[in-house]
Symmetry: C2
Subunit: 86 residues, 2 copies
Amino acid sequence: MARIIVEVMLKPEILDPQGQAVKNALGRLGLTGVADVRQGKRFVIDVDDEAGVDEARIDELAGSLLSNPVIEDYAWRVVADTEAGA
Amino acid sequence: MARIIVEVMLKPEILDPQGQAVKNALGRLGLTGVADVRQGKRFVIDVDDEAGVDEARIDELAGSLLSNPVIEDYAWRVVADTEAGA
């Protein structure tokens, strides 16, 4: 069993109203010094067999199904199954 | 400048229909051997001064503002500002 983590974030030049809302809320709740907040998505994909992970296919799907290449960047990595999923 | 990454995932016992939809789509698109997919959120918080990071406050806000403690688990860490944000 292998675990693949895919992280998707808006490109830096794309406005992130959700992140801005979080930034403002953090300020109101007393956390000072917050310069910027960006919100993104995270996928934890468990696959049956690490040897069978098709890296080219994973990369292709991360860049199409899991993210919108027009406005989002993605990164993915294979981690040990024991890494905390949270 | 320090960067705080907060990762929020549904608790394992909570159904994740988004993750299930992604799992089904990955199967249809030809990625075999996918046992499970969970979808979560990711916040990248840039703060002005690492020395000024109030860890207790961050933890409290991650567990209240950024996640719903009834159905979600969270994890957070401070990373070097140079770590890729994507």
